[in-house]
């Protein structure tokens, strides 16, 4: 018997990759459900939690839902992707601090944007080229993502706090948020 298995394209290309239109921007985050997509790289959880804490304190976000990818080097699997799309208003995903995970983090953000969910992808600045190249390959060259200072994985709590401080203003800009609660 022949067993057929779906092969995962490491670029995440699915055939619908020509849409380069951003999803509608929220303007305000008040009361919105925020999905935090952790790609399992060290310090991803901490960085995302620090950012969410800032957004709750200063921008009044609602519920925060945590999700974890099973592998950082490829785009999100469809089952988890569909779950997140059905449960949140915006997505923040981190952290791309290597070649493949930066590319995959950007690919994930583009997938969410194309599904109508505003998304913020976070990479380190050392891997900006990797993220931008993935955006190009995806047909979404104008996709903007947050770049924090490299490294991230090896930092202690205090320095991750600093990376969150770098990320929040850029995340707000990308989301088009102007309203502080």
């Amino acid at each position: 018997m022949t067993i057929l298995e779906a092969l995962l394209d490491p670029t995440g290309a699915t055939g619908g990759e020509n849409d380069s239109t951003l999803s509608p921007r929220p303007v305000t985050l008040a009361g919105l459900t925020v999905g935090l997509l952790d790609n399992t790289k060290p310090n991803s959880t901490l960085l995302l939690d620090e950012i969410a804490a800032d957004l709750r304190r200063d921008y009044g976000i609602g519920e925060v839902k945590h999700y974890v990818k099973d592998y950082f080097g490829t785009p999100i699997k469809d089952e988890l992707f569909q779950q997140i799309v059905s449960e949140v208003d915006i997505v923040i995903t981190a952290v791309g601090d290597c070649g493949s995970c930066s590319a995959a983090t950007v690919a994930d953000g583009i997938l969410f944007e194309r599904a109508g969910i505003p998304a913020v992808s976070i990479t380190s600045d050392a891997f900006a080229m990797s993220g931008q190249a993935m955006a190009d390959v995806q047909g979404f060259a104008g996709f903007q993502f947050v770049m924090v200072e490299h490294p991230v994985a090896s930092l202690d709590v205090e320095h991750i706090r600093g990376r969150a401080d770098q990320a929040v203003p850029e995340a707000l800009r990308i989301l088009g948020v102007t309203e502080v609660v």
Partner: protein
């Protein structure tokens, strides 16, 4: 500035990025106007961190655009899964 220096300059930042994951980037001309870019794993390279080939190709082609050379192709380390 020689053509070789130009390619080295063009690929310098990406060479640095690859080194962060434990990879060594080299190149050589394959024709008068095209180069091959080779990525080799060093000891302790992060195997799972290697950029997928389509993304790598995109990066290299764009990086070489200001030089006298075009990208012929990229060679990843033997056994690379992407």
């Amino acid at each position: 500035m020689t053509a070789a220096t130009s390619v080295d300059d063009a690929l310098a930042s990406f060479r640095e990025m690859m080194a962060s994951d434990g990879y060594l980037l080299t190149w050589e001309p394959v024709t008068d106007d095209a180069v091959v870019v080779r990525i080799a794993a060093t000891e302790g390279a992060c195997e799972d961190c290697l950029v997928p080939l389509p993304v790598m190709t995109n990066i290299m082609a764009k990086a070489l655009a200001p030089t006298d050379y075009a990208l012929d192709h990229v060679e990843l380390p033997p056994g690379a899964t992407h």
